[in-house]
């Protein structure tokens, strides 16, 4: 079952499904998610809140909440299925080969330890280095994430740092063991716009330097364009569209993707032109109890919805003319000639 390492992708997620067991019964929060990630590649997961982006990341790390479980599919990391890996094996992978940074840098660091201690902790855990070496390495890492005066700041506590600096420290911790994959779950949502660009530049540079693949989870189309080569649009626990960022943004095939892109004013409208109404996608993400039904879950919000949309789940199909651009929709744009 394991392909030779040279041809197999770094990460191969096949038909991953995740179910939550709640008091109201079992709900499917991730429905048949598949994607691959090559070494050093950057991919973005895009979608509204509650679409399963973060849940996909947690499923990859084996960090699903207690009520959740992988109900089907595989997560092949270098050919090894992580959904059946032992907890000890997952612990060795986490922070070492697969790392994650979170949305809230203000609360992602332990308030009672210095940042140096927190970077050292992960080095000691996975690299078995002694205290002096861990400290030296911590200073190097702080320099790498461009914290000024790193040798002095290494003894600072998290509350002495700004939000952007804390996110840099999180990145330093995540990259301390030079992982193969870095999952960034909305890393800049809580930060100032000016800081956002710096963090993205830092992630891009360090990712390229360490040949680390980056999975960026976001709802910010601007971030997608800055950060990734490929994007995967998720809706209600399903993958609705996937392709090269340039292709998808230029010619979105799924009505949902089209709606998301239309919601970003500066991509579609002229700068300076007055926009009377900002475009939006009507309606909301369906309640989680509807996830996993055999119908198009976007149908209630879709102008093109027809009978088949309500009666069966659309299958994934490739879009002619674009390699690796695929969509799951009964009536994708482009088939009848996009505008």
């Amino acid at each position: 079952m394991t392909n030779s390492p040279s041809t197999a992708p770094l990460l191969d997620v096949r038909n991953l499904s995740v179910q939550f067991t709640t008091r109201g019964g079992t709900v499917t929060v991730l429905d048949d998610i598949s994607f691959t990630l090559e070494r050093g590649e950057r991919i973005s997961f895009v979608g509204e809140s509650g679409c399963g982006k973060s849940m996909t990341a947690l499923a990859l790390m084996g960090l699903l909440p207690a009520m959740g479980r992988v109900s089907g599919g595989q997560v092949l990391f270098k050919g090894e299925d992580l959904t059946t890996a032992s907890p000890a094996r997952l612990r060795r992978l986490r922070g070492n080969e697969i790392s994650m940074i979170f949305q809230e840098p203000m609360t992602s660091l332990n308030p009672v330890f210095t940042i140096g201690q927190q970077i050292s902790e992960v080095l000691r855990l996975h690299r078995g280095v002694d205290n002096a070496e861990a400290r030296d390495r911590s200073v190097e890492l702080l320099q790498a994430v461009r914290i000024p005066d790193a040798a002095a700041r290494v003894d600072d506590y998290p509350h002495q740092l700004s939000g952007g600096q804390r996110q840099r420290v999180m990145i330093a911790i995540a990259l301390a063991c030079e992982p193969e994959i870095l999952i960034a779950d909305e890393p800049t949502t809580a930060l100032d716009v000016t800081v956002q660009a710096e963090i993205f530049a830092l992630l891009r540079d360090l990712g390229a330097k360490l040949d680390t693949a980056i999975i960026l989870i976001t709802h910010d189309m601007g971030a997608v364009a800055q950060m990734s080569e490929r994007m995967l649009v998720m809706y209600a626990g399903r993958r609705v569209e996937e392709g090269q960022v340039a292709n998808v943004i230029k010619a979105p095939a799924h009505p949902y993707t089209r709606g998301l892109i239309a919601c970003v004013p500066h991509i579609t409208s002229d700068v300076g032109a007055l926009v009377d109404t900002l475009p939006e996608i009507d309606g909301i993400v369906p309640p989680i109890t509807r996830f996993g039904r055999d119908e198009c879950l976007f149908a209630p919000r879709c102008a093109k919805a027809a009978d088949e949309c309500w009666s069966a789940k659309p299958q994934q199909s490739d879009i002619a003319g674009h390699s690796s651009h695929s969509v799951s929709c009964w009536h994708p744009f482009g088939t009848e000639g996009s505008r």
């Binding site: 960090l63 660091l109 332990n110 330890f113 902790e121 855990l125 003894d155 509350h159």
Partner: protein
């Protein structure tokens, strides 16, 4: 901190250094609390007296040295003598050693049991939590004095058994506080972040969650030293403490029949207990203010 960093000030250093370690901020708040400061001084005197007193005043507290019921200050006896003509000062100093030791050890013991139960229950939830918290509730509803009396009656009235008996009946509050803190902290993002960095459950419990859960536990532990001293006094008063050592409660208990003839024999150890426990309570209060961020003036 490195002195080198101070000689070469960096940008914003004067702001940053004021709020160095959260612990230092805590000490500053504690020092500003006048009641807690006075209590600390009083308690220090009591502790020093208990440690060095018996050396400076080397009189056997069990030895009859003078006529019974000598009032304080008379015939060179600072605190007088008790009903058997034993030196009250010697009894008080030696008794302080025993009372404080029992209070400290019993409190440490209940903190240890309480943290173990609370941490496991709060971290693992589910069945573990159910079982551990039912056990905690079982101990909580037992009448504590009666239960410790049974333990002492069963295993003999030695110092160790009395200490264990007090520890065993008073850990439930710590367990509940620890569990509550663990339930709160385990959901915080830095715990998830540590998990994502590969931390094991043991690491998460001991190195990530526990240090953040400590403040209310420290407060409770401080208050528990006081209540353990009271508890020991209660047992000793009832004659259930080790008869081979003097403790404050035991002095009160043995002089009880003569309370109307020689009130000082009961009043003096009573005052010692009162002052000590009050000091500990005030210190606990001060710690609570210093450790509880919600009460901090910004």
């Amino acid at each position: 901190m490195k002195p080198a960093a101070d000689s070469a000030p960096r940008r914003g250093a004067e702001i940053v250094d004021k709020a160095q370690h959260p612990l230092r901020e805590m000490v500053v708040i504690f020092l500003a609390n006048r009641a807690a400061m006075v209590a600390s001084i009083v308690l220090s005197i009591v502790v020093l007296a208990a440690i060095f007193g018996p050396m400076l005043h080397p009189v056997d507290p069990f030895e009859m040295v003078w006529a019974p019921f000598t009032p304080p200050g008379q015939d060179g006896f600072v605190l007088g003598t008790d009903y058997l003509g034993r030196d009250m000062l010697a009894a008080l100093l030696n008794g302080g050693r025993v009372s404080l030791t029992i209070g400290l050890v019993a409190a440490l013991m209940s903190v240890f049991i309480g943290i173990s139960f609370g941490a496991l229950a709060g971290f693992y939830r589910g069945l573990v939590e159910e079982v551990l918290m039912r056990i905690t509730e079982f101990f909580q509803v037992l009448p504590t004095l009666l239960f410790s009396m049974v333990i002492v009656a069963l295993f003999g009235a030695s110092l160790e058994v009395v200490t264990i008996a007090i520890g065993v009946v008073s850990w439930t509050a710590v367990a509940r506080i620890t569990r509550a803190e663990f339930l709160r902290i385990r959901e915080l993002e830095y715990v998830t972040a540590s998990r994502a960095a590969g931390a094991s459950n043991v690491t998460l419990m001991t190195r990530v969650i526990l240090p953040n859960a400590l403040p209310p536990i420290i407060v409770q532990a401080a208050l528990m030293v006081g209540s353990a001293i009271l508890f020991e006094a209660g047992l000793a008063f009832l004659g259930l403490s080790d008869p081979n050592v003097v403790s404050w409660g035991q002095i009160i208990g043995s002089n009880r029949p003569y309370i109307l003839d020689a009130g000082f024999t009961v009043t003096i150890p009573g005052l010692a207990i009162f002052v000590t426990v009050l000091s500990i309570s005030l210190i606990g209060d001060g710690l609570n203010d210093a450790l509880n961020p919600k009460l901090r003036a910004r």
